[in-house]
């Protein structure tokens, strides 16, 4: 270590030049950084719902859709219908749009005297009141799936825009959104759907990045200036922060890892952590730099003192972050890996760039003022004496806090709701809520029905199961409507039997039909009624044949595959609340198990993806806490060469975590994909405080009384611990200025965790020493 410092301090220019060159390399890579705000894309590939969701793109030409709604008190005026008609046509011609379903173009299956007619509801917009009435008559009385295209109060028209699956949904969403923004109309237009939300999420992330990072830098500058009142005291740690963030993001860009909803927070987290080592080094340097000393000499002394603690705290922090990989959510693991890399980068710069720069700079003119730290030191001494004399008060208070926190646990709600993440007035949320309040819903559950052979989806028993499944789904709360091939077959069966409601169903396996036959009687051909039996399968196949005679090649492509082997039922849901989705999921699963046996059935859709994330959040939470605790125990046990000390280290962390979850319970902060990160980060960063205190306690003379040793340890470690916690805690608190509720909550939680783990180190550990301190090896 000494040699290493010697090398650095002997070749300061070379060191800085090398760092500069690598910085240029990563900086150059920054232009390649991509963004992937889609939360569901970080789901592991082996999750069945995700696997199937991806596979849907192989089977059907379109998967994701955008829901646009137009609102007016006089929706059915010829002028408004004209606008809607035009809007529908224009949307259809957007290249990334697969198909559009709106009140002006929905296909109507009409029964006619002699047969069946399939065509768009309108050829041209209605011109007068009479035509409007006729149009409304057809719209409302043709058994159409209008739940997502006309609101119950008749004031909103919905346009479902299905996106081609050959494009990235959010790119197509940007195209559709740009189009909608430019629509010149008096009507109020709303727009939502998963691709739109992902688009908004990306924009919000960009905004967060642009606002929060400068904020955290400003905060750092401010704290550094208050601490040092000295240019180098500000610039050197700030340099470490900037270079380590730049390297980390540059590395991500180099490896082709996009910025996700999780790694979006990385610069803020990293900046808050990266500044700490610099503070310690500068503080030490400015304390040691007295007139008559040489910069090289002072720097070497400082580094000799601090090399080890800087490495140890950085390594424990990095391990804490790496523990995030215990979660199987890809983006969370990436946050862990790259923040860990960033922490190590920061450590590296603190040990190279700062000493190299200090060697090159002349000694500061003024020595650091000591008055400020003197009153702080007096306060810490007073606190230590108070703690020693009132240790039982402390013990009781701590136990009460723990008890109260534990009581809050059952109140913790697991809730991943990407819409609740947006502020109440954000267009993403306003539009989503308005549309979902009036239509069937923009979230969908897909029931995939997979046959074993071609044509199985034409079997009456399969279609019957599907139709019953839809009836069941429509009875569930929050399910606003369903769509499947079975609807069309049912409708056709009715239309083909003179619109008789007896035939408003899927044909039976064998149907009795009446028809006519031409027979020759007395040399003349006459028509004669006959009754005969026919397989339902043949009926269905021939209905489809009839439909196809006037349809387009891909009319059913989004409902059933080309071979009629795999089909799907889409159920539209008006919420993303994981609680609701879970209940629905369980009910649907149970129904399938008991009632659907004509084909294999699997579930997917956006609702299933949200649920999968939810489940992973719970599992990830548990494992990442476990892994980070084990890592902390391991690292500190090795460091202190004592398992007891290693275990003791996690006590303040356990306290911080218990408080964290208690707080979440009582303050109704939901556990979700963002707030789940709190624990692991808190463990990695918060362990430093305990390390410092235990280290100080252990180095005190064994012969002194425990109380005396506790007092001295607090006096020596108290101020740095508090300053450290304050800097990091305030830095993390910047996250609470995010526009996203989840990130906000996490900023608050993690700031609190900094102070509670700090409290654990300066209150709980001393109390433990005071009660159990006689034992050796603590």
């Amino acid at each position: 270590m000494k040699n290493y410092t010697k090398t650095i301090t002997e070749r300061p220019w070379l060191t800085i030049l090398l760092i500069f060159l690598i910085t240029v390399f990563f900086g150059w890579n920054l232009k390649n950084i991509k963004m992937d705000p889609d939360i569901t894309s970080s789901l592991p590939k082996n999750i069945p719902a995700k696997l199937l969701y991806d596979r849907m793109n192989d089977i059907f030409p379109s998967r994701d859709f955008i829901l646009i709604a137009v609102e007016s008190d006089s929706l059915f005026s010829p002028a408004n219908l004209q606008t809607l008609f035009k809007l529908t046509e224009d949307l259809e011609s957007i290249p990334d749009v697969y198909s559009v379903m709106s009140p002006t173009n929905i296909k109507v299956i009409r029964g006619t005297e002699e047969g069946m007619e399939v065509k768009s509801i309108l050829d041209a917009p209605p011109q007068n009141a009479r035509q409007v009435e006729a149009y409304k008559q057809v719209l409302y009385h043709s058994d159409l799936p209008i739940e997502n295209i006309i609101s119950a109060d008749q004031k909103m028209a919905g346009i479902m825009v299905f996106l081609k699956n050959t494009v990235k949904p959010e790119d197509a969403a940007a195209e559709v959104m740009a189009f909608v923004d430019n629509v010149d109309s008096e009507l109020h237009i709303y727009i939502t759907g998963k691709p739109i939300l992902t688009l908004y999420l990306g924009r919000g992330m960009g905004r967060d990045m642009g606002v929060l990072f400068p904020m955290v830098l400003l905060l750092i500058v401010l704290m550094l200036f208050i601490s040092f009142r000295n240019i180098r005291g500000v610039l050197l740690p700030l340099g470490v922060v900037l270079i380590s963030v730049l390297w980390t993001i540059g590395l991500m860009a180099f490896l082709g890892i996009p910025i996700s909803h999780s790694t979006n927070m990385l610069p803020i987290l990293l900046a808050s952590i990266a500044v700490a080592d610099g503070i310690h080094i500068l503080n030490n340097y400015l304390n040691k730099a007295r007139p008559g000393t040489q910069p090289l000499q002072v720097t070497r002394e400082v580094m000799q003192d601090l090399n080890k603690p800087v490495i140890i705290t950085s390594v424990t922090t990095a391990f804490g972050f790496l523990a995030l990989n215990a979660s199987s959510i890809g983006s969370v693991g990436e946050l862990g890996i790259f923040t860990a890399a960033g922490v190590i980068f920061a450590m590296f710069f603190s040990l190279t760039f700062i000493p190299a720069a200090l060697v090159l700079l002349p000694l500061p003119k003024k020595a650091l003022k000591q008055s400020k730290s003197r009153w702080m030191n007096r306060a810490v001494t007073a606190y230590a004496e108070f703690l020693i004399s009132r240790k039982s008060w402390f013990a009781v208070a701590i136990l009460l806090i723990v008890l109260l926190s534990v009581l809050g646990f059952p109140k913790i709600k697991l809730e991943n709701n990407s819409i609740g993440n947006f502020p109440k007035t954000h267009p993403a949320r306003v539009d989503y809520e308005h549309i979902n309040a009036h239509f069937a819903g923009s979230t969908f559950l897909t029931v995939m029905v997979e046959g074993d052979s071609s044509g199985q989806l034409k079997e009456p028993r399969v279609l019957r199961d599907m139709a019953k499944m839809e009836t069941f789904l429509n009875r569930q709360e929050h399910v606003g409507g369903t769509l499947s091939l079975a609807d069309f077959i049912r409708r056709m069966n009715k239309v083909m039997h003179a619109d008789s409601s007896t035939y408003d169903c899927i044909p039976a396996d064998e149907e009795t039909e009446t028809g006519v036959e031409w027979i020759q009687e007395n040399g003349r051909w006459i028509e004669k009624q006959i009754t005969f039996k026919v397989p339902g399968r043949a009926l269905i196949a021939q209905y489809l044949q009839l439909y196809e005679m006037s349809g387009k090649p891909d009319d059913f492509a989004n409902l059933v595959d080309y071979k009629y082997k795999t089909g799907r039922i889409n159920a539209f849901i008006d919420t993303e609340s994981s609680g609701v989705l879970h209940t629905l999921h369980d009910a649907v699963r149970a129904y399938i198990r008991d009632h659907f046996n004509s084909a294999r059935v699997e579930l997917t859709g956006t609702s299933e993806l949200f649920l999968a994330i939810n489940d992973l959040v719970v599992k990830g939470q548990f494992y990442s806490i476990l892994v980070s605790l084990i890592l902390v125990i391991l690292v500190t046990t090795i460091l202190f060469r004592s398992l007891g000390s290693g275990l003791l280290n996690v006590v303040p962390l356990l306290f911080a975590m218990i408080f964290n979850f208690g707080f979440m319970g009582w303050a109704a902060v939901h556990l979700n994909i963002v707030t789940m990160l709190t624990s692991s980060i808190a463990i990695g960063v918060g362990v430093d405080y305990a390390v410092h205190l235990i280290h100080r306690y252990r180095v005190q003379d064994d012969h002194r009384a425990v109380a005396e040793r506790v007092k001295r340890a607090l006096e020596q470690a108290g101020v740095p611990i508090l300053l450290n916690a304050l800097t990091v805690g305030l830095g993390f608190a910047i996250l609470s200025f995010s526009i996203f509720a989840g990130v906000k909550h996490m900023g608050i939680l993690i700031s609190i965790a900094m102070f509670t783990s700090c409290f654990g180190a300066v209150a709980i550990l001393p109390v433990l020493f005071l009660y159990f301190g006689e034992k050796k090896n603590v």
Partner: protein, 273 residues
Amino acid sequence: MHRYFSQSALSGPVFKWMLTALLCVFIFTALPAQDLTGFQIMEKALNKSSWQDMSGEVTLILSNARGERRTRKIDMFSRKRTAEESDMLMRFKAPADVKGTAFLIIEKKDKDDERYLYLPAMRRVKRIASSGKGGNFMSSDFTYYDIGKPKLRDWTYKKLADEKIGKWDCYKLECLPADENIIKDTGYGKIIRWIRKDILMTVKSEYYDRVLRKWKTLQVPGMETIEGVWFQTDMKMNDVQNNHASEMRFTNLKVNQNIPAKFFTQRFLQRGR
């Protein structure tokens, strides 16, 4: 089938809507005319003489972006009822679940064609509402318009520089719709045609949508003469916007066998043979 047919004279122009394939020509009418205008070329191509009736077997192959296929086999009969109107009957042989269904089209000069489908499962004839010329022919990428014979004056023609398609010298025509209704009716904003100089048969076309994006391409890998009449016996229509393709192959083509008129009635449709 043969016993229903007897020879009759060739007559009249125009079989308006079924199959450019069935457009036919006396091979000798093609003139080596360098200085023809686009309009004149099209006029000559359209005014070729034709057959009175014809029959054949059609294989219709639809394929989607994933390369999956749906294959239909059909027996087809057609007969000119008047100079400008024809009737057509198609009987499905495969796939099995639609075997026996039959499709009858009665062409009407000044109004929508009558289209009927016989469904053996119901033993009923169902009328199919006309979806206009722009409607898809049996759910394929061919529209009724594509397989029919275009009206000369529906389009304006611009002769582009001659090109070779394969080994054939071709005229290249840019056809633009004469008015808005044509666009509405056909869905096409522009068609480029390559017409063989020697026999005046279209060997390739490109279809553009109303905003002039390329939409479909037609290729004609197979052409045959049957009793001196040229037929497009293999046509491939490729929808480049939706990645869907349809191919029509004709075999066993016969012409002028004197198919009787009663062949093309609802009663016959239902009764079978």
